[in-house]
Amino acid sequence: MIEFILNKEHIKTEIPSGSILLDFIRQKKHLTGTKIGCREGDCGACTVLSGSLNTEGKVDYKAITSCLTPIASVHGKHVVTIEGLNLTDGLTTVQNAIKENNATQCGFCTPGFVVSLTGYALNKNISITGIKDSISGNICRCTGYKSIEKATEDITSILVEKNNHSTKWLIERKFVPEYFTEIPGKLFDIKAKMKINSKGTIVGGGTDLYVTRANKFQELDVDLISENDNINKIFINKNTCIIGAGATVSDILNFTRLHDYFPELENYFKLISSKQIRNMATVGGNLVNASPIADLAIFFLALNSKININDKQGGNRIIFLKDFFKGYKSIDINDGEIIQEITFELPEDDQYFNFEKVSKRTHLDIASVNSAMNISIKKKLINDIYLSAGGVSPIPLFLKNTCSFLKGKVLSSENIQKAHCVLKEEITPISDVRGSKGYKRLLIRQLYYGHFIKLFPDIINIYDIK
C-alpha cells in the first residue's frame, strides 16, 4: 500500500507502485489544475511539489514533474498541487504576482509556474539557486517570459525578508495556506518507513524510464532505488568523495562542501535538464541510461571515478567508470546488480577542472556535445590529465589516447594543438537530430580548446585556433 498526503487529503492506495502520479491526480482525484503538456518532463505543466520530512521534523519541498513520477516515490510524502496552494480567500503572493504582471495569457502553463515558484519560496536557501532557475523546467508559449520575470522580481523582493525556514512566515506572507503547519505531524503519523512493496524494475528518479517506457511501467510495481539504505548519501572521506547512486543532481548541488572543490559546479549543473528533473534524476540512472551524452557520466569520467556495484547475493565489485560503458547503450552490469555509489578523488591545489556543454537550447536540452577536463600541472608539465567527451561516439567517451599523448608533456599551445590531432582519431560522431557529424567534430574541437583557453588563457587563446 502507498500512503501519502495529497494537499490536505490522506491517501491510501493499492494501485501498482509504478503508476504515474499525474494520472492519479487528474483521473482518480479529478484535480485538473495540474496540466498535461508533454508527458516527457519537458514542459513543466504537470509540476507538483513533493515534501518529505527531514531529520529536524520539518518538511523539505521540491518541485517535480508528476508525469514522470511513479507513485511509489511519493510514499510518505506531502504532494501539493495547485489546488493545495489555493487560499480560501484571495490569491497567494505568487499567484498575485503573476496576475499583476500579466504573466498569464492562455493560462495552460500557469499552474505549473505557480507551483514551481512556490517550491522556490519554500526552499531553505533562497539564495543558492536563483528564482529563474526554479522555473527552468516550465515552458510558456504565450508570454515570452518577460512578464513572468517581472513577477519573479516581485516575489523575490518579498522573499528577501525571509531569513529562516519558517512555515509561519510563509503563511503570513500568503505563500502557502495555513494547513501547511499540520503537515509535519501528519507525515510523522504515516510513519513512512513502513516499506512499500519493492519488486520489479529498479527506478531511480524515473526520468529516463518514464519517458521511454511509461506504458509498461505504469501498470507494474517498481523497485524504488531510494528504498535502499544509504543510497542517497553524499560524503567525503579523507580525500575521497562518495556519492550514493540514488543521489539526485540537486542533492549533489546541495552538498556544499563540493563547491569548495568545484567553484563552478552550479554553472555546470544548471546546464543539466531543469530544476524539476534535477530534483528527480539520480546518478545511477544517468550512468545506467548510458546515453552517449549523459552529462553526469561525462563529468565523472573526467574525475576518473570508480563505481561500486552490488549484486543480490551481497557481493560487490568496484570498477572504473570508464570501463563501465561497453558500446551503444551497453554497460557492464548483470541482472539484479545495482550501482551502489560512485567515488572519486577530490582535486588538489595543482588540479584544474572544467565542464562544457553545448546544446541547441542552452538550458533544458540534451547536449549536442559535452566534455570535461581534469588536469594537474606540475612545473609546467602536464602531470595528469583526464578528458571526456559526449555526443562523439556511441558511449560517453573517455579520451584515452588524447590523455596519454598529453601526459608528461609541457603545457604549451603547440602540444595542445598536436593532441587535437589525436583526439580527432578517437571520435566517431554521427549525424542526428542534435547536429551533423561535421558540426560535432567542430564542436568537440571547440570545447577541447575551450577547456584550455578558459583555464590557461596565457598559454592558448582563441586566435590560435581560428
Binding site: 485538473t32 496540466k35 508533454c38 499567484q95 500579466n102 499552474p111 508559449r141 537550447r361
Partner: protein, 750 residues
C-alpha cells in the same frame, strides 16, 4: 484592466477541454495514423486490435455517412485516408475504447499493408515534378524587366525559412456528447467553431443545425487550431453519431506533432536592383512554399506572402510568384503571421545581401526605401497613415541607433571570446482577412433584469485576451463596472456563421459588433430613463452605473434603470452584425484594397555570440510600435513580447527535421526546442507610438496579434552581423533557423 481569466488561471481553475467533467459512459479515442509518407493501402489490419477487451469500435472512412471530405478552400483532404496515404501521421482510423490506455494498446496492434511510393519531401523536388496544390500566384507592379536596365546594382540570392511547430501548450482535443434527436454537441479546442459545424455536417450528412460547437477557451493556438482542430472534433462527432455515447479525444503531444501541420517552410530565389543612391528599383522573388499533402489554408497563406513581399518599403517594380508545392508532409497551416513573416524574411535577406556586397550597413538601404504616404503596394492599395518615418525617428531619438552601433563595435574590439551584432527590422502588416467574405462578425448581448450582462460573440479566447477587450468595450459603452459582464462561451447556436478567430482581426470585428449592440441597448435604456425622468433623451447620460441629466447625477441607478426598462417591456437583448467597410480584392487581377488598415513598427535587436561554442544570447529588442490608441496597453505589450520571443524561436532554434522517408525526427519537446526563460531576450523595451489610427480599429486600438512576430526576424540578421565581426569570410547564407550549429560553422568557415 487585467485579463479577466487571470484569477482562475493562476489558481488552476480555468477549464480546458481535458478538464471538463466527463459524462457517464464516456469513451476515449486514439487516432491511428499512417506510418508511411506515400503509398497505396492494400489492407488495413485491425482484427487483433478489436480483440482487446474494452475496445468498442474502430472507425475508418467506411463509417462516414456523408462525404469523406474536410478541405476548407480546396476539396482535397479526407477525414480518414481511403486507398492512398499522403503523409506520415495521416489519420486512417479512430479507435474508441473504454479508456485511453486501452485505445492506445489497441493502436499498437494495428498495421497496414502498403505499396510504398517514393515520397516528395523537398519543394525543389515538387517543383521539378510539377506537384502543385494550385497554379502559381503572381503579384506585379510596374515592369521589373524594364527596370533592371536602370539599376546600378543587381544582386541575386536564395533565402530559406524552416517550418515551425505551433506548440500550443494544450494539445488538440475534442469532446462530443450526444443530444436528443441525433443532435451532437461538440466541445472543441478550436479557433473556428463554424468550420467544425459546417464540415462536420457535411461529413455526417446532416444539417448544420444538428451540430452545436462550444468553445470556452484554448490553451494557445497561434493558427494551429484554425483549420486543424476540425479533424479531431469531427472524429468524435462521428463516433457519437454511431455509438450514441460521449467520446473524448485528446491528442498526445507526440501524435499532435506527427499529425498536424506547421508553419510553411519556404525556399526563395530573389533578385534585387538598386539605383546608385540605394533606392530599390526592382524586386523579383520566386517563393517555393512547402504546403504539405493538401491545401488546407495554403492558398490564403500564399496570398499573404505576396501581400507582404515588399514589407515596409516602396518598390516601384515588383514581380513576386508563389509556387504552392505539394509534398508528402502533413498539410502545413496557419501560424501567426500567415505567410507574411516568410515573405518579409526574403526582402530583408535581399537587402542584407545587397548591403553585404556593397559593404554598407543594411539600415541605410532600409531607411531610404521606407514607405511614404500614398505609395502603392504591389496589390494596388495605397499606403495610408504611414508611420514608418516617424517610428524610425522615434527609435533614433529614444534609443540612439548610432550609439548602439558604436557600443557594438566597441564591444567587439575589446572582447576576445564574444562578438555582438545588431539589426533593424521595420514591419508593415495589413489587417483584415484577405478573403473579403470573412470580414464580418456578430455579437449577442443580453442585459438581464437584475442588471447583469451576458455577451456572446464569435471570438475565441486563446490567451490573447479578446474576452477582456469585449468586456472593456461593453463596460465603456454602457458605463458599468466590468464585474457586471460575463463573456459566454463561443457557441454556434448563439452566434452563428462566424469567421475563425484569426488574422489579428477578431477584436476589431467582434468588438465592433459588441459596440454596436451595446450602443443600441444604451439608446433604449436612455429613452426609458428620459421617459421616466421626464426630460429629453439627449440630456440623459449614463456614467458610473448611474443616470445623469447632463452633468447632474440622478438617483436612478443602473439596476433600477434596467428593471424599469424590463417592466416597460423594452427588449434588453441585442444582436448586432458588423462587416468591415471599404475592403475588396480582385483575385484575378491581384489588385484591390484588401486591408482596412496597416500596423507599422520597428525593432532594434542586439545579440551576443560566444565564439568558442557558437551559442548566443539576445541582449535586447527595442521596439517602437504603432498601437493606434491601445485600449489595453499591458495586454498589448504582452502580445508583443510573446510574439517577439516566438519569432526569435523560429529564427534561431526551432528546427523541424524530417528524414528522407518523411518521418518527423523532431517529434517531441526533447528534440524540438522552443524558447525557455533563458532564451528570451535579456530585455524587451516597447515604446508605444500613439497614432491617429483608423476607425476600423476597435476604439482606434490597432490589431496586435500577428505583426510583432515579424520583429523576431531581427535576431537572424543581428546574429549574422555578429558572426561577420568574428569571421570576415563568413558567407552569410540566408538559411533560417540560424541554430548554434550554423552559427558555429559560420564562425569558422573559410
Amino acid at each position: 484592466m487585467k485579463n479577466i481569466d487571470s484569477i482562475n488561471h493562476v489558481q488552476g481553475k480555468s477549464i480546458f477541454i481535458d478538464d471538463i467533467t466527463v459524462n457517464h459512459g464516456t469513451l476515449y479515442g486514439v487516432v491511428f495514423g499512417s506510418p508511411f509518407a506515400y503509398g497505396k493501402i492494400t489492407k488495413l489490419n485491425i482484427e487483433d486490435a478489436l480483440k482487446i477487451e474494452g475496445v468498442i469500435r474502430i472507425f475508418t472512412y467506411h463509417d462516414i455517412p456523408g462525404v469523406n471530405q474536410i478541405g476548407a478552400i480546396i476539396q482535397d483532404e479526407t477525414l480518414f485516408a481511403e486507398s492512398e496515404v499522403h503523409y506520415v501521421g495521416q489519420p486512417i482510423a479512430l479507435i474508441v475504447a473504454e479508456t485511453e490506455k486501452i485505445a492506445q494498446k489497441a493502436r499498437d496492434l494495428i498495421y497496414v499493408d502498403l505499396d510504398e511510393y517514393d515520397p516528395i519531401i523537398e519543394v525543389s523536388d515538387a517543383k521539378e515534378k510539377q506537384q502543385f496544390i494550385m497554379p502559381p500566384r503572381t503579384f506585379k507592379l510596374g515592369d521589373t524587366k524594364a527596370a533592371w536596365n536602370n539599376c546600378e546594382h543587381i544582386f541575386e540570392g536564395k533565402a530559406t525559412t524552416g517550418g515551425q511547430e505551433h506548440l500550443y501548450l494544450e494539445t488538440q482535443g475534442s469532446y462530443a456528447i450526444p443530444q436528443e434527436n441525433g443532435n451532437i454537441k461538440i466541445f472543441s479546442s478550436t479557433q473556428g467553431p463554424t468550420a467544425i459545424q459546417k464540415i462536420g455536417a457535411k461529413v455526417l450528412g446532416i444539417p448544420m443545425n444538428k451540430i452545436e460547437v462550444d468553445v470556452v477557451r484554448l490553451g494557445g493556438a497561434f493558427g494551429g487550431k484554425e483549420e486543424q482542430a476540425t479533424l479531431w472534433a469531427i472524429m468524435t462527432a462521428l463516433a457519437v453519431y454511431h455509438l450514441h455515447l460521449p467520446v473524448k479525444l485528446i491528442l498526445s503531444r507526440n501524435d499532435d506533432m506527427f499529425m498536424t501541420g506547421k508553419r510553411h517552410p519556404y525556399e526563395t530565389q530573389f533578385k534585387i536592383g538598386l539605383s546608385g543612391d540605394l533606392k530599390i528599383l526592382a524586386f523579383e522573388a520566386d517563393y517555393l512554399q512547402n504546403a504539405g499533402a493538401s491545401a488546407d489554408l495554403s492558398p490564403a497563406i500564399t496570398e499573404r506572402t505576396l501581400f507582404h513581399s515588399t514589407n515596409s518599403y516602396f518598390v516601384p517594380n515588383v514581380k513576386a510568384t508563389v509556387y504552392t508545392c505539394k509534398t508528402n508532409l502533413p498539410p502545413n497551416t496557419a501560424f501567426r503571421g500567415f505567410g507574411a513573416p516568410q515573405g518579409i524574411f526574403v526582402i530583408e535577406a535581399a537587402i542584407n545581401h545587397a548591403s553585404n556586397k556593397l559593404n554598407i550597413p543594411a539600415r541605410e538601404i532600409q531607411k531610404i526605401n521606407l514607405l511614404k504616404e500614398n505609395d502603392e503596394f504591389p496589390y494596388g492599395q495605397a499606403a495610408k497613415d504611414v508611420e514608418l518615418t516617424r517610428i524610425w525617428n522615434t527609435a533614433q531619438n529614444n534609443f540612439n541607433i548610432s550609439k548602439l552601433e558604436k557600443e557594438v563595435s566597441a564591444f567587439n574590439n575589446s572582447n576576445e571570446l564574444k562578438r555582438r551584432g545588431i539589426s533593424l527590422t521595420p514591419i508593415t502588416f495589413g489587417i483584415s482577412f484577405t478573403n473579403t467574405m470573412m470580414n464580418h462578425a456578430r455579437a449577442l448581448v443580453h442585459i438581464y433584469q437584475d442588471g447583469s450582462i451576458g455577451i456572446s460573440t464569435g471570438a475565441v479566447e486563446m490567451g490573447q485576451s479578446v474576452n477582456t477587450k469585449m468586456v472593456q468595450i461593453a463596460a465603456k459603452v454602457l458605463s458599468v463596472v466590468p464585474e457586471r459582464i460575463k463573456i459566454e462561451s463561443t457557441n454556434t447556436t448563439r452566434v452563428a456563421n462566424t469567421s475563425p478567430t484569426a488574422a489579428s482581426s477578431t477584436a476589431d470585428l467582434n468588438g465592433k459588433a459588441v459596440q454596436q449592440a451595446c450602443d443600441a441597448l444604451l439608446k433604449r435604456l436612455k429613452s426609458t430613463a428620459a421617459a421616466n425622468l421626464k426630460v429629453k433623451e439627449d440630456m440623459i447620460h449614463l456614467r458610473d452605473e448611474a443616470v445623469f441629466i447632463d452633468n447632474e447625477k440622478t438617483s436612478l441607478t443602473w439596476e433600477q434603470l434596467v428593471w424599469k426598462a424590463f417592466a416597460n417591456r423594452v427588449s434588453l437583448t441585442e444582436n448586432c452584425h458588423y462587416s468591415t467597410p471599404k475592403i475588396y480584392f480582385n483575385k484575378a487581377k491581384g489588385k484591390g484594397h484588401p486591408f482596412s488598415y496597416h500596423v507599422y513598427g520597428l525593432a532594434i535587436t542586439t545579440v551576443t555570440v560566444d565564439c568558442i561554442s557558437g551559442s548566443h544570447e539576445v541582449d535586447s529588442v527595442k521596439i517602437v510600435h504603432d498601437f493606434g490608441k491601445s485600449m489595453n496597453q499591458e495586454i498589448d505589450n504582452g502580445q508583443i513580447e510573446g510574439a517577439v520571443v516566438q519569432g526569435i524561436g523560429w529564427m534561431t532554434m526551432e528546427e523541424i527535421v524530417f528524414d528522407e522517408k518523411g518521418r518527423l525526427q523532431s517529434n517531441a519537446l526533447s528534440t524540438y526546442k522552443i524558447p525557455d526563460i533563458y532564451s528570451a531576450p535579456n530585455s524587451i523595451e516597447i515604446i508605444p507610438l500613439e497614432t491617429e489610427s483608423n476607425d476600423e480599429a476597435i476604439l482606434k486600438s490597432k490589431a496586435v496579434g500577428e505583426p510583432p512576430f515579424i520583429y523576431g526576424i531581427g535576431s537572424f540578421f543581428a546574429l549574422q552581423d555578429a558572426i561577420r565581426a568574428f569571421n570576415p569570410s563568413y558567407k552569410s547564407e540566408f538559411d533560417a533557423p540560424l541554430t548554434p550549429e550554423k552559427v558555429l560553422l559560420g564562425l569558422y568557415e573559410e
